[in-house]
């Protein structure tokens, strides 16, 4: 086993400009082993560029990214240290799935047994002998993941791995990365849809316009709880809530949304004001809403 610090990914003051466009702007964050870190941001935020700099494919304008303190290009046996699935398009259409992995295994000096093991791990063993040209996007995603797993790495870097997966595939992927991280390994996976990964990730690194917006445990990202209350006496209840110091906004169709309160407190206020309630329920914090707000506002 590798020491935990050898599986830590560190991004330090990373910058990348393409001509006049700044794709990544002074980005710093650390990805720890044992947890699944979501790398989030809208399309064009610089996620893929950052991951490609981490993997030595794109040269940073300044700053650096390291794995266990070493840049990817300087790693000995990189596939045994880091598994990366960057795009579901990086295959020769005329090559079979198995042959694609055999080429990778040969380059990394891995035994052919690893090829079969990886295919099995992603559930592609039945399609192993088929040419990739006939694969669906979901199958290509699985093949990309199989390639990442070839070297039984300590660090997994996945760029939009859920793209093209059906709901069953997404559930499977979730289980897989959770299991992977539970073994004390590092997972960094990107997505532009928070809801897609919110059941998968422990921590989130949110970027927008190439800059860090938020790096926090997922729980911290969730906003305060919201209580939905429905009544035929909307105006009366709104006044009563305002007097009790509970700001409420109209939720439409005779409903009010009360932020930062418990249902019991709202019910109490309504009772005192003699307001009839038809519905009283707690709604989970709207992560997607928070995410949109974060990425729209930009860095704070």
């Amino acid at each position: 086993m590798t020491a935990p610090e050898e599986a830590t990914v560190v991004v330090e003051h990373l910058c990348k400009s393409f001509g006049p466009i700044t794709a990544v702007d002074d980005l710093s964050f650390t990805v720890r082993p044992g947890v699944v870190t979501g790398f989030l941001g809208p399309n064009g935020a610089g996620k893929t560029t950052t991951l490609r700099m981490l993997l030595g494919l794109v040269r940073p304008t300044s700053g650096r990214a390291t794995i266990g303190g070493v840049p990817y290009a300087a790693l000995r046996d990189p596939l045994r240290r880091v598994g990366a699935a960057l795009e579901a398009t990086g295959f020769h259409a005329g090559r079979t799935a198995r042959d694609h992995l055999r080429v990778q295994a040969a380059a990394a000096g891995l035994p052919t047994a690893r090829v079969d093991a990886s295919l099995q791990q992603v559930g592609l063993e039945d399609a192993a002998g088929r040419r990739v040209g006939g694969f669906s996007l979901g199958m290509r995603q699985r093949l990309a993941l199989a390639a990442a797993l070839l070297g039984d790495p300590q660090v997994l870097v996945l760029d939009e791995p859920a793209n093209g997966l059906d709901p069953a595939g997404i559930a499977w992927l979730r289980g897989f990365v959770r299991y992977f991280a539970a073994q004390g390994r590092t997972v960094l996976l990107s997505s532009h849809v928070l809801s897609e990964v919110q059941q998968t990730v422990d921590e989130v690194v949110v970027i927008a316009h190439g800059r860090l917006v938020r790096h926090a445990p997922l729980a911290d990202l969730e906003g305060p709880p919201i209580v939905l209350v429905r009544t035929p006496q909307v105006e009366q209840l709104a006044v009563a809530l305002a007097h009790a110091g509970l700001p409420a906004e109209p939720g439409g169709d005779g409903a009010l949304l009360v932020t930062g309160a418990e249902p019991a407190r709202v019910g109490e206020v309504a009772h005192r004001a003699g307001v009839v309630l038809h519905e009283l329920a707690r709604r989970p914090g709207d992560l997607e809403h928070v995410f949109l707000a974060l990425t729209r506002e930009g860095p704070r």
Partner: protein
Amino acid sequence: MSAMVRLVRAELLKIRTTRAWWALLIGVALATAGFVALQGVIALLGPETTGAPTGDVQDPATVRAIYVAGIGTAYLFALALGVLSSSGEFRHHTITATLLAAPDRVRVVVAKAVAVAGYGLLYGAAAAVVGIAVGVPFVLGGGGAARLTSDGVPRSLVLAVLAVALWGLVGLGVGTLIRNQVVALVVTIGVAWIAEPLLAVGLNALDVGAVARFLPSQATAALASPAATANGLTISLLPWWAGALVLLGYALAAGALGAVTTLRRDIA
């Protein structure tokens, strides 16, 4: 196993696991058979009929010329394989996987060069075998001796095989420099097949054959058919080793240019 050996194995596997290599090999066999047969027919008809400056099959030089008549076309297929092996990585986006396994880009190109040279030797050997198989009946039919082990025939064939392999490296060099596969193929085949031989004729007509002999096709002729006329031209060819060095020089020049330009670019 050393990292370099692994990379070469991976590159050999890359070529073997797609269909292009044997399609090109079939091309080598068919084109060689065609051109050798054509050369055989010309030799049998004799110079008085065809006006071609080719002697009859009693002449060892003519026999040699028949056997290697397909080389000028066979090398185009090795050239194409070389181009495909590098520019194909960009066309199919497999360059990402390649560089993840081997971040050192120069080592990747060196491994490709070894693999392409290997397949180039295979193509050259195929051209030599087909050249003999198709050529011998013409030579014997014209009352000549096969001369398979004499009169410089073995030397001519071996050097022809070498020339084909070197052309594979030229293709690799150009494919490394030009990432767009279609452009790389059109440029290399267009230049090697049409523009460059025409230039050789032109230079020769202008009495600057001393310059023309450094052109790739003439360097190849220096290898494959020494002491014979190449493409019907009476250019004074380089010695065989100089011809080999000239071809290698083209490959290295294109590859080195690619190494300091294309290879350094971001893989986005």
